[in-house]
């Protein structure tokens, strides 16, 4: 089992320059500590216009800063929006290659298409075609990274022959993923040989079904890149405390705040009727969970908060379902004070991570 951090970079009102800077600095401090503690990944989203929920609109800059203050933790775009109005594919290829070089080959490239009208409408993107443009982008990116010269004539973008520079540090190219929120996207991931970057907080049963289908389909995939990246990552909240009750209370507060902010987004389906957005993505589960920012309702099962023993049980369950990596959200709207986030990371690394660092055989022998 691998462990990562997952950043939306949530910033509460009022948005003073100092507050924005403080939150970004807090995140960097957490990443630096996570690197020292042995966490495997740091992921950052690309979101635009999502007030308080996510101020992470330039993740490549944040991830570059992460790479510069760390030595070994891998940095991941979670995800790059593969819609022409958001990002030109040439720029994606160039920026990711540059980040891979600067990080010394530590880059993972997550891909996706945006789920909110707030964002798609803001860029005047057509929701009907985002799946198709994503498909074109992910097939082009590996070629743009690997081929000396590249030209392309597609439905959503085109270019004459040029040499796209620089080339990534990793050979043949960085691992590629796709964000999985809507039902069925795990199949898209499997069929293309992409890692499944789960961004939903669904319960065990639903995740197990998705993972089984992903593992089954990826065996016969036609990879878009030079290799198959068969990995399943899921997202979770982390708050680890010596006292279970304290850990659960703060973890719930974190989860409720995140969920409540997330449910304020305008999902595309809510306002723009489109066959491309049949599902509300992660929102139904969040709405069930989010009765209010300070609610004390039962949240989705398997959350990684409480004392180390409780968290170990949750992680073991995810591991048994076939999850390879859990990425943790550490804060939302700064409801967890920075010193407590840091203490939580330290305790998790001391008490929980060693359990999952051992070989399966060694664990069984205990």
């Amino acid at each position: 089992m691998k462990f990562g951090l997952f950043y939306e970079i949530s910033i509460p009102r009022p948005w003073t320059p100092e507050k924005e800077r403080t939150v970004y600095n807090n995140c960097l401090e957490q990443v630096k500590l996570a690197d020292e503690l042995g966490f495997d990944h740091v992921w950052a989203v690309e979101h635009h216009f999502l007030e308080e929920y996510s101020h992470c609109s330039a993740p490549e800059l944040f991830l570059t800063a992460c790479a510069m203050v760390t030595k070994r933790i891998q940095v991941g775009h979670g995800i790059v929006v593969c819609v022409p109005e958001f990002n030109h594919p040439i720029k994606i290829a160039e920026k990711t290659a540059t980040l891979d070089i600067l990080s010394g080959g530590r880059l993972h490239v997550g891909t996706g298409r945006s789920a909110t009208w707030t964002e798609l409408g803001g860029f005047r993107a057509n929701p009907d075609i985002t799946k198709k443009s994503w498909d074109e982008f992910v097939r082009c990116l590996p070629k743009m990274w690997m081929q000396e010269t590249f030209s392309y004539q597609g439905e959503f973008w085109s270019m004459p022959e040029r040499t796209i520079l620089p080339k990534p540090y990793q050979k043949p190219h960085p691992p590629m993923w796709v964000a999985v929120t809507s039902p069925g996207t795990e199949i898209d991931a499997a069929d293309r040989g992409l890692g499944s970057l789960g961004l939903s907080f669904a319960g065990f049963e639903e995740q197990e079904k998705k993972i089984k289908e992903y593992r089954r389909r990826i065996k016969s995939c036609e990879p878009v890149g030079a290799f198959v990246n068969e990995q399943v990552a899921t997202t979770n909240f982390l708050y680890c405390h010596e006292d279970e009750k304290t850990g659960v209370e703060m973890g719930k507060r974190l989860g409720n705040t995140f969920n409540y902010l997330a449910t304020q987004l305008i999902s595309t389906r809510e306002v723009f009727s489109s066959p491309s957005y049949q599902s509300l993505g992660l929102l139904p589960a969040l709405r069930r969970a989010a009765t209010g920012p300070d609610a004390n309702e039962q949240q989705t099962e398997g959350m990684a908060y409480g004392d180390p023993a409780r968290i170990i049980r949750a992680v073991k369950k995810w591991e048994s379902l076939g999850v390879d990596c859990i990425n943790f959200i550490l804060n939302a709207n700064e409801v967890v004070p920075q010193d407590q986030v840091m203490a939580s990371l330290r305790l998790f690394a001391k008490e929980v991570m060693p359990v999952f660092a051992k070989k399966p055989g060694a664990q069984a022998a205990e």
Partner: protein, 256 residues
């Protein structure tokens, strides 16, 4: 935390519809034709229109809806509504700003049974192959002239209608008081089309939304549905956040 509305509906309760009781019987409304146009509006133009209990949608948008109800307990009627996109706690809702019904009987029943702010007027719903058109007149003056241009077939499963919230006076705990009422029709789709919204006349003041300016069209739909106006299940304190002030007054329907 998310922004809240600023409207205190308790300051002018006389302006609100009044219900005699909250035991409204449901209406079944078969084969209704519903045109909905969603249009973004500047956030500043919605100031003061949303109750304190609710969160604004970001970006701000309104729903212009014109429906032809071919059959109802008060006979056929057309209904036009203006709803403001918003959130009740975690859930998307359309807060009713104004409405016009084509018959006085429908206007009266909708006001007194569900608390919808409906007035009588002239509401036309016209279907052409290249567009679906709606016009609304009040006191002989056009207050809305709109169309769904170039309708193209989509699946009913592509369309999501969000529930309504209306402000009204109703008796609860022995006192008639201002409250928010959730109205949550269900829909069975027979036909669905999608097209481009076009509004050529809109008198915001006539919809109790004087400051609203229509800005960016999002999308329009026109659907034929079996629908209803159900029994009232949830009422909300207009001054408390919805997640604290919601009260269930009736269990959900068996099919929910």
């Amino acid at each position: 935390m998310p922004l809240y509305g600023t409207l205190d509906i308790t300051e002018a309760p006389a302006r609100l519809p009044t219900l005699a009781h909250l035991d409204t019987e449901a209406w079944t409304l078969p084969k209704a034709e519903m045109m909905q146009l969603l249009i973004e509006v500047p956030r500043s133009s919605t100031d003061g229109l949303l109750p304190k209990a609710m969160h604004p949608a970001l970006p701000s948008y309104v729903i212009l809806a014109i429906t032809r109800y071919s059959d109802s307990p008060v006979g056929p009627f057309n209904l036009a509504m203006l709803r403001l996109g918003s959130r009740a706690g975690a859930h998307p809702r359309g807060f009713l700003l104004g409405a016009v019904a084509s018959t006085d009987a429908a206007a009266k029943e909708l006001r007194t049974r569900w608390g919808l702010p409906v007035e009588g007027g002239e509401v036309k719903f016209l279907r052409r192959h290249d567009r679906v058109m709606g016009t609304v007149k009040k006191n002989g003056r056009t207050i809305l002239d709109c169309a769904l241009v170039n309708p193209q077939p989509v699946a009913g499963t592509d369309v999501q209608y969000i529930n309504w919230v209306t402000a009204a006076n109703a008796p609860l705990d022995g006192t008639t008081q201002p409250m928010l009422i959730q109205v949550d029709p269900k829909y069975t789709f027979y036909k669905a089309e999608r097209g481009t919204p076009l509004v050529s006349a809109f008198d915001a003041a006539a919809w109790n939304a004087a400051s609203i300016e229509l800005a960016e069209p999002i999308v329009g739909t026109c659907c034929t549905v079996d629908t209803d106006l159900p029994r009232i299940r949830f009422v909300m304190d207009p001054l408390k956040p919805v997640f604290q002030g919601t009260r269930r007054i009736r269990e959900s329907r068996a099919d929910e």
